[in-house]
């Protein structure tokens, strides 16, 4: 098993280094890069599945790092699950990337940079999962951040991208420092930095809470939890699409992995207050994430924001699980963990799918503004179908994977009445309702996305000219992911069984005995309490649809007449008459207006002298994030201000400097005597 795990890492690094070689020896075939990438992904999948099935912990040490602290390696079910997630993503990418990178690469250097850091990025993520001591963990973690930074800055001739990249790396650094501090707090009570030692450390509750908060901030910084999420929608979209897919679909999961590892594995015990913190922050992120997502016009930016939402959901459910664990209901905690991990898995699937789809759209139309697209469903049928599946999964419709995890989340939340604590008993249902709100908003958001991008009449020449992509392998990647989305939507038990092992490992308890995870139906607690059997529903649906189709078509054969759209008799329907995204989301924008900083301006220019009839109307809408104004900028200004003050000490006059040294001398002499 470790062999597979290692080989995944090695293959990814190898693919990166091959790209580097390619610069100096152009005769080296570029395809190697992607083959190796695919191999790495495949190995990761195998390792993941194997690790989950065997559900053992494999240990090892590499003779790297510090002389007295070699790199400790472990590969347990939790790592295995995330290995699987990464593996699937990377595997699909390896089909997608060749054509895509070939299209976007400008020179040999560009290709080298892109592929090199892709390889390093993936290798870093895998190493994070393998790390068994804080030192190696941090190295791998930072490797991941730095590599992805270069990928974000790939198209650096655009100043906005540079700014995004800087912000990204800065946030990554701050997050990493917080994580180091969190580890440090634990390590100062432990013998050394290995995870075993950390597990064994005896902290007071106060210090444990400190460590928890630090870890939450650190990992949350990476995972893009509100209110420290602002870098995320800046950075993810500007990377090449398959990289955005990796970052949004997978790297955030690595952050979640860190959080789970820290809270459920390393910290000796959990407290329900922490659970509440997680739940509240998660809920906040979920709701505001989707609200912001809805307000975006840039497709990739929108998807990035929706990642914030999904991460929020995951964290919230983790909070639930923690609450149940702290009140020692391990089985319910296991259920919660199951829901969270399953959602992480699902999100990786459909978010990758959507990003790759967005990539194809961009590749074909050179346009990502959904107000400029439209009507692609006729021009790019395959892509649109795959994208539709993605949209259905992410807006958690039944029969698709997104629904299963949210269903489990609800099931967890509804078990609140076993708890004694009044606060929890009233808080959890509300957050459950917030989850419902999130789901509904997500549906609205992705109706908006799909409707404006693919349906209706093209709004621009690009969209008009768009053609279906002819590169099979580039379609294969999203097709595979879409297939997974559907498969795991119909047969969730197949993955749930595996994830159950993770819960067993972390919490020491499976789902309750009477729970059913059969091929046909899943009932997490007991068949009486709740059950969901997608296969039967599918069959029923097919039957019903078949019947009415048969009735309406076979029996009475009325042909369909195609006619121009009815224009109410005025004539001249133009594409510009269609709803734009800002129009579509206007009601929600108005209803939730406190959540945004909205600048909405309408300028009318009247036709000359006779101020009667309007010549043209200019409508501009600018929506900004609260935490940018109220959290990020104050910090920045503060630092600059302090720096300015400190700058005063260096006057440029040598006599002042001499004065300093005299003063210092006297001071120190006075101190010692």
């Amino acid at each position: 098993m470790l062999f597979l795990a290692y080989s995944a890492v090695i293959f990814s690094f190898a693919s990166g280094s091959i790209a580097l070689v390619h610069v100096f020896k152009p005769e080296v075939h570029q395809q190697w890069v992607f083959w190796l990438l695919g191999l790495s992904g495949f190995a990761a999948i195998l390792a993941g599945v194997g690790g989950l099935i065997t559900s053992q912990t494999y240990l090892d040490t590499l003779n790297l790092g510090l002389p007295w602290l070699p790199w400790h390696i472990h590969f347990d079910s939790l790592s295995a699950l995330f290995y699987l997630i990464i593996g699937i993503a990377v595997f699909s990418i390896s089909f997608y990337a060749p054509h895509y990178t070939h299209a976007m690469q400008k020179d040999a250097q560009g290709f080298a940079v892109l592929s090199l850091f892709t390889g390093v990025f993936i290798g870093g993520m895998l190493l994070v999962l393998l790390a068994d001591d804080a030192f190696m963990f941090m190295i791998a973690w930072e490797l991941m951040s730095v590599a992805s930074y270069f990928l974000v800055a790939f198209d650096h001739e655009n100043s906005a991208n540079r700014r995004a990249a800087f912000l990204y790396l800065l946030m990554a650094e701050v997050g990493a420092l917080l994580i180091i501090l969190a580890f440090g707090v634990m390590a100062s009570f432990a013998s050394d930095f290995t995870f075993d030692a950390l597990r064994a450390s005896h902290l007071s509750t106060m210090w444990m809470s400190v460590a928890f908060i630090l870890a939450l901030m650190g990992f949350g910084m990476k995972a893009g939890l509100v209110p420290i999420h602002v870098w995320l929608p800046e950075a993810h979209p500007v990377a090449p699409s398959h990289i955005s897919a990796l970052m949004s679909g997978v790297m955030l999961k690595v952050a979640i992995y860190g959080l789970i590892r820290f809270c459920f594995d390393l910290l000796p015990e959990v407290h329900w207050e922490w659970g509440v913190v997680l739940m509240v922050i998660g809920t906040l992120s979920a709701v505001s994430g989707i609200l912001y997502a809805m307000m975006q016009q840039n497709l990739k930016r929108l998807l990035a924001y929706s990642s914030v939402e999904n991460i929020g959901i995951i964290v919230m459910v983790l909070g639930l699980s923690m609450i149940f664990l702290a009140n020692n209901y391990p089985e319910l905690a296991a259920l919660g963990l199951l829901a969270a991990l399953l959602h992480a898995f699902n999100h990786a699937l459909f978010k990758n799918l959507l990003f790759l789809g967005a990539g194809i759209i961009h590749h074909q139309t050179h346009e990502l503004n959904i107000d400029m697209l439209g009507g692609l469903i006729k021009r790019m049928p395959k892509t649109s179908f795959l994208f539709l599946i993605g949209c259905m999964s992410i807006s958690s419709l039944p029969l698709f994977n997104g629904f299963v995890s949210e269903w489990l989340a609800f099931q967890t939340a509804l078990r609140v009445d076993v708890l004694d604590n009044g606060v929890l008993r009233s808080l959890i249902p509300v957050s459950a309702a917030a989850l419902a709100l999130t789901a509904a908003l997500a549906a609205a958001c992705f109706v908006n996305v799909f409707g404006l991008t693919f349906l209706g009449v093209p709004r621009s020449r690009h969209a008009e000219k768009a053609k279906e992509i002819n590169d099979k392998s580039m379609l294969a990647a999203p097709a595979m992911l879409a297939g997974f989305c559907f498969f795991f939507g119909i047969f969730p038990s197949s993955i749930l069984h595996l994830i159950d092992n993770v819960a067993k490992q972390l919490i020491g308890s499976n789902l309750p005995a009477q729970s059913v995870l059969s091929f046909f139906s899943i009932a997490p607690l007991s068949a009486q309490q709740a059950s969901y059997s997608p296969p039967l529903i599918l069959v029923g649906a097919l039957m019903a649809a078949g019947v009415c189709f048969w009735v309406l078509h076979r029996k009475l054969k009325t042909s369909v007449r195609i006619a121009p759209t009815w224009d109410c008799g005025f004539g001249g329907l133009t594409p510009r008459m269609q709803y734009t995204s800002s129009a579509f989301t206007m009601p929600l924008r108005r209803i939730f207006s406190p959540a945004f900083l909205i600048e909405e301006t309408i300028e009318k220019t009247m036709r000359s002298h006779t101020q009667t009839n309007v010549e043209q109307v200019r409508y501009s809408l600018h929506i900004q994030d609260h935490s940018w104004i109220h959290l990020y900028q104050p910090v920045e200004h503060g630092v600059n201000r302090v720096a300015k003050q400190v700058g005063r000490i260096q006057t440029g006059n040598i006599r002042t400097y001499l004065g300093y040294s005299l003063a210092t001398l006297i001071l120190l002499l006075w101190v010692v005597s």
Binding site: G456, Q529, G540, L588
Partner: protein, 314 residues
């Protein structure tokens, strides 16, 4: 036997839904001193539509043609889940109340997409408003339903109903809140006054109609039928959750007969109530809907809290 039973029950459900629509129309006309069409008018309309040749815009895509079937199917599935005449039917085990909401969401999703497909301002307007309202209504509904499911500590509908039956008549404040919340949600979700007006075609007010404006022929028939089903579903849900008495607990013929009569009776009362409400209140502006639904949500939360704090025995 049970499987057959379930199929029959579902079929009955589907078959009766236009009748409910008709009866509701009848009540309204009667209340508004108009000559009412017969109860069976909806059937006639549907029949007429199915035979008419559908006209489809040239901008329409495959999704436009597929959507009606999907919507209708989703509603049938929903119908198969909700206990109509008898409880513990096998089909109700395949999905619980959350999945039921999921089915509604599924139907809505495709309805909204179909609205956007043609690329007219109407369709966009309709979809936008529909999604807005539903995204506000859904939490409220779930809150209301959760109150029940937590009382019964199951999200399985027939399980919950059985639980209520076994408890016998207990006046729960939480149920009162939940009931009203659910009624408010029903009005919003089924596109009744005061949120939407099913009979209008005035672009500033219409929501549901705006989306299906481009449909005709059998597609329109399916959609109309689906909305009728939706109304029926909510009706049955309300009446069987909060007043389950009379529903058949065993598959004997008499029990089933009583069950049918009981549910029909309840629905009649509900229709009258609905008609009264619709006649009494005026349609509200779109941007007052959030207050309305916010109130519904508030009721739901209150129900939940009163359940947790007052009732659950701890």
């Amino acid at each position: 036997m049970n499987g057959l039973m379930a199929v029959v029950q579902t079929a009955l459900f589907v078959a009766l839904s236009p009748l409910l629509m008709g009866f509701l129309k009848f009540c309204k006309c009667w209340l508004q001193n108009r000559r009412a069409p017969s109860f069976l008018q909806p059937y006639r309309d549907l029949l007429k539509l199915t035979y008419k040749q559908p006209v489809i815009s040239q901008e329409a895509s495959w999704l436009f043609c597929v959507a009606p079937y999907l919507i209708f199917t989703a509603m049938i599935l929903a119908a198969s889940v909700v206990p109509f005449i008898a409880v513990d039917q096998p089909t109700s085990a395949e999905a619980d109340v959350i999945v039921l909401v999921g089915f509604f969401a599924f139907a809505r999703f495709f309805l909204a997409l179909a609205g956007l497909d043609i690329g007219t301002a109407f369709g966009g307007m309709g979809s936008s408003r529909e999604m807005t309202i539903s995204s506000l209504a859904e939490p409220a509904m779930l809150m209301a339903v959760f109150t029940l499911t937590m009382t019964a500590s199951t999200t399985n509908l027939s399980g919950a109903i059985e639980h209520v039956l076994q408890e016998g008549l207990i006046l729960r404040p939480s149920f009162v809140f939940a009931l009203f919340a659910l009624i408010l949600v029903t009005m919003a979700e089924t596109g009744r006054i005061p949120v939407d007006n099913p009979t209008t075609h005035l672009e500033l007010t219409m929501i549901h109609e705006a989306m299906i404006l481009e449909y005709s022929g059998r597609h329109l028939a399916l959609i109309e039928w689906a909305s009728a089903l939706k109304l029926m579903l909510y009706g049955v849900l309300i009446s069987n959750i909060f007043f389950p008495w009379g529903i058949a607990e065993s598959f004997t013929l008499s029990a089933l007969g009583y069950g049918l009569l009981a549910i029909l009776g309840k629905l009649v009362f509900l229709c009258i109530f609905l008609a009264l409400a619709e006649t009494a209140v005026a349609k509200m502006r779109l941007f007052r809907v959030q207050e309305y639904l916010g109130f519904a949500y508030l009721l739901g939360v209150l129900g939940m809290l009163s359940h947790i704090i007052l009732e659950s025995t701890r």
